[in-house]
């Protein structure tokens, strides 16, 4: 029987499956953060249940922590952070708190610490858990009730999703990155287009991506509605994992790699659907609307509701009203107020390098606020070792401590009502980055270009002076 990568991991984790019932699926790694876990621990306490396998749960503080030396934003956030610390202490769960040298955004530190490994099932009460699929893991977001299930049983009830292959043919042109690739895909599929499916990303343009780029792509799978996104592991994956603190070491690593090499879709295995995208035709992408599916090449004009499918007209008109944009107007040259370079989508070392390369020797445009928020303490240290922090500071950007920050605006880092931000995060929903704020999602290169020009800018026009960007 020919199987897909997804099938192989699914089959290996089914503990039990009764007729007409969802499968009982074993969870190898459970990640936890402060926002979606307190009610799960409370539920456990109410039932008098222990955590079944505390060593398989790892916690971090990321969503509501400050990214400056200032204090926590409010009492509610402080109480929630304290609750996480108490719950972890009580149940002997490893916690990367703000004092830890390895703290960071949950989807940045999991891979960085080598906790994320090929073939695993990984869950977290967070929709961007799909990020970890970049390593050939089956990783997906769950609700808080399910967090409680995993704490109590190390298992979840799951109905088998369908599979969708998204194959990126060709080679990404200069100036276009992993972020542009995935924004183009979401624009094609729509925000609900992959509902009920697990995506496997294949093709030469995916193979050519480094691990950071693959994580960016898998991270945004949920923005097309997918249950998860995954990429078969290869030499790039193994090289990235080698030597990570929680990865197998020495001979055990070689043995693990031999097993991981089996984790690919067999020739002739069937996907439920396939979408093919020619990566060589892609340009830097940007969103213009209020969901991640509303994306266009940066050189395009804002679409008109009159040209949209009848079913989408109202949504488009509403989005343009919120964004304060006119149909047919170009986005290029549009002034912006804030640039956010961060989030679990684009706050890894390569993202920092790309942004720094664009900003090096330049100044942030007058009146523009630029926040650069590394995804983890490790990323922060590595970036500082390369002097990237100095590049950002010299340009006039704020170099912050790791956290979710302005991606979700829970910690006090927020854009003001009516302001425009170019953001490397993953969601442009109304108010996501601050009540009344308006978000343009783009790549780190595009965000950095906007930082120095103060306008939406095609980074390719800056490239001769910045050296080729990936």
């Amino acid at each position: 029987m020919k199987r897909t990568l997804f099938d192989k991991i699914w089959d290996a984790h089914v503990v039990a499956e009764e007729a007409g019932r969802p499968a009982v699926l074993y969870v190898d790694l459970h990640l936890v953060h402060e926002v979606t876990s307190p009610q799960a621990f409370a539920g456990l306490a109410a039932r008098g249940l222990p955590v079944r396998r505390p060593e398989r749960t790892v916690a971090t503080m990321d969503h509501s922590i400050p990214t400056t030396k200032l204090v926590v934003v409010d009492d509610a956030a402080r109480a929630q952070l304290r609750r996480l610390a108490d719950n972890c202490a009580k149940h002997s769960i490893t916690l990367y708190d703000t004092e830890s040298h390895q703290q960071g955004i949950v989807h940045v530190i999991g891979p960085e610490l080598g906790l994320t490994q090929p073939g695993m099932t990984i869950v977290c009460g967070d929709s961007h858990t799909s990020t970890h699929g970049a390593f050939g893991a089956l990783a997906f977001g769950i609700g808080t009730s399910e967090v409680e299930h995993v704490l109590a049983s190390q298992c979840l009830l799951q109905r088998k999703p369908k599979t969708l292959e998204v194959r990126f043919e060709g080679e990404l042109p200069a100036g276009a990155s992993a972020k542009d690739l995935v924004l183009a895909m979401i624009a094609e599929l729509g925000v609900g287009g992959a509902t009920g499916h697990v995506i496997e990303y294949t093709g030469p343009a995916i193979r050519a991506l480094d691990m950071e780029g693959r994580m960016t792509v898998c991270n945004m799978s949920i923005e097309a509605g997918a249950r998860a996104g995954m990429i078969a592991p290869d030499e790039t994956t193994f090289a990235w994992l080698a030597g990570r603190p929680h990865a197998p070491q020495g001979a055990a690593f070689a043995k693990a790699v031999a097993g991981w090499c089996e984790l690919h879709t067999d020739d002739g295995a069937q996907f439920d659907r396939t979408l093919v995208i020619d990566a060589s035709q892609l340009a830097p992408m940007i969103t213009f609307g209020t969901n991640p599916g509303m994306g266009i090449p940066i050189t395009s004009a804002v679409p008109s509701p009159d040209d949209a499918e009848p079913a989408q007209r109202n949504a488009l008109a509403k989005a343009l009203r919120y964004m304060g944009l006119q149909p047919g107007e170009p986005l290029l040259g549009r002034p912006i107020d804030v640039v956010f370079i961060g989030s679990c989508t684009n706050a890894r070392l390569t993202d920092m390098r790309v942004a720094a390369n664009v900003m090096r020797g330049n100044k942030v445009a007058a009146g523009v606020r630029v926040l650069v928020v590394p995804g983890s303490k490790d990323v922060k240290r590595a970036a500082e070792a390369e002097g990237l922090d100095q590049v950002f500071r010299d340009a006039g950007a704020e170099w912050r401590d790791p956290g979710c920050s302005m991606c979700i605006a829970m910690n006090g880092d927020a854009i003001e009502p009516g302001q425009y931000a170019v953001s490397t995060s993953n969601r442009n929903f109304e108010g996501r980055q601050g009540r009344g704020g308006r978000t343009f999602l783009a790549s780190p290169a595009t965000a950095a270009a906007a930082a120095i020009t103060g306008r939406i800018t095609d980074v390719r026009t800056l490239m001769p002076t910045t050296g080729g960007e990936r």
């Binding site: 503990v15 039990a16 007409g20 019932r21 969802p22 009982v24 074993y26 926002v35 979606t36 307190p38 009610q39 409370a42 039932r47 079944r52 396998r53 969503h63 509501s64 409010d74 509610a76 109480a79 929630q80 609750r83 009460g125 967070d126 929709s127 977001g141 769950i142 609700g143 808080t144 009730s145 399910e146 409680e148 299930h149 109590a152 049983s153 190390q154 298992c155 979840l156 009830l157 999703p161 925000v191 609900g192 509902t195 009920g196 509605g225 969901n291 599916g293 079913a311 989408q312 109202n314 949504a315 979700i408 605006a409 829970m410 969601r427 929903f429 109304e430 108010g431 996501r432 009540r435």
Partner: protein, 188 residues
């Protein structure tokens, strides 16, 4: 969990597609540690806008059914979304389609996700829009939503989710019954 068997209620129409969980409950209200008390924050940034079709108007008070577009509940996995809807008093959502995680979260909180084809949704919306006091009837056992004139529509529901909703059962009990199998799996 409160069992869901039947429901007779008026409904409100939220005519929008792709309503994301950041709209259902914005992130700044996620700092609590309880599942309750979230009703006040339901659609916090939309309910203050003129013409927002629910929350606080005489026509809609007491409505336990929300009717909406495609892909309801997309975005963040926050279970605060169904908690807030339930806390406000909703027991069922009729939509053209649902986002996966929202649907899972809803059923775990006794909130019934009813996915109906667009034509059926439009027909129900026309009746409700014509008369806000229209009582819809939902019968989970027969998987049907009916209009007062007897017109009814069947909706699909996963048999296990239906079983749990009808009985007010939560899934953890079912999973824990497999404890020995889980141990065997861990030791394999």
């Amino acid at each position: 969990m409160t069992p869901f068997k039947t429901l007779t209620s008026r409904a409100v129409v939220l005519a929008a597609d792709d309503v994301d969980t950041d709209q259902i409950i914005p992130a700044r209200f996620l700092k609590g540690t309880a599942k309750t008390g979230l009703a006040a924050h339901l659609f916090a940034d939309w309910r203050t806008q003129p013409g927002f079709p629910l929350l606080g108007t005489p026509d809609t008070s007491g409505a336990q059914i929300l009717i909406t577009g495609i892909n309801f509940g997309c975005g963040s996995s926050r279970e605060h979304a169904p908690w807030a809807l339930v806390d406000y008093g909703f027991r069922a959502i009729i939509a053209r389609s649902f986002a996966d995680i929202f649907k899972e979260n809803a059923t775990k909180n006794g909130l019934l996700p009813i996915a109906l084809p667009a034509a059926a949704c439009s027909q129900i919306e026309r009746v409700v829009n014509a008369q806000a006091s229209t009582q819809l009837h939902v019968d989970l056992a027969s998987e049907r939503v009916s209009l007062p004139d007897g017109t009814s529509f069947t909706f699909p529901i996963d048999p296990f989710a239906k079983h749990c909703l009808l009985g007010g059962l939560d899934e953890l009990g079912y999973i824990l019954a497999f404890s020995e199998r889980i141990t065997a799996y861990e030791q394999r």
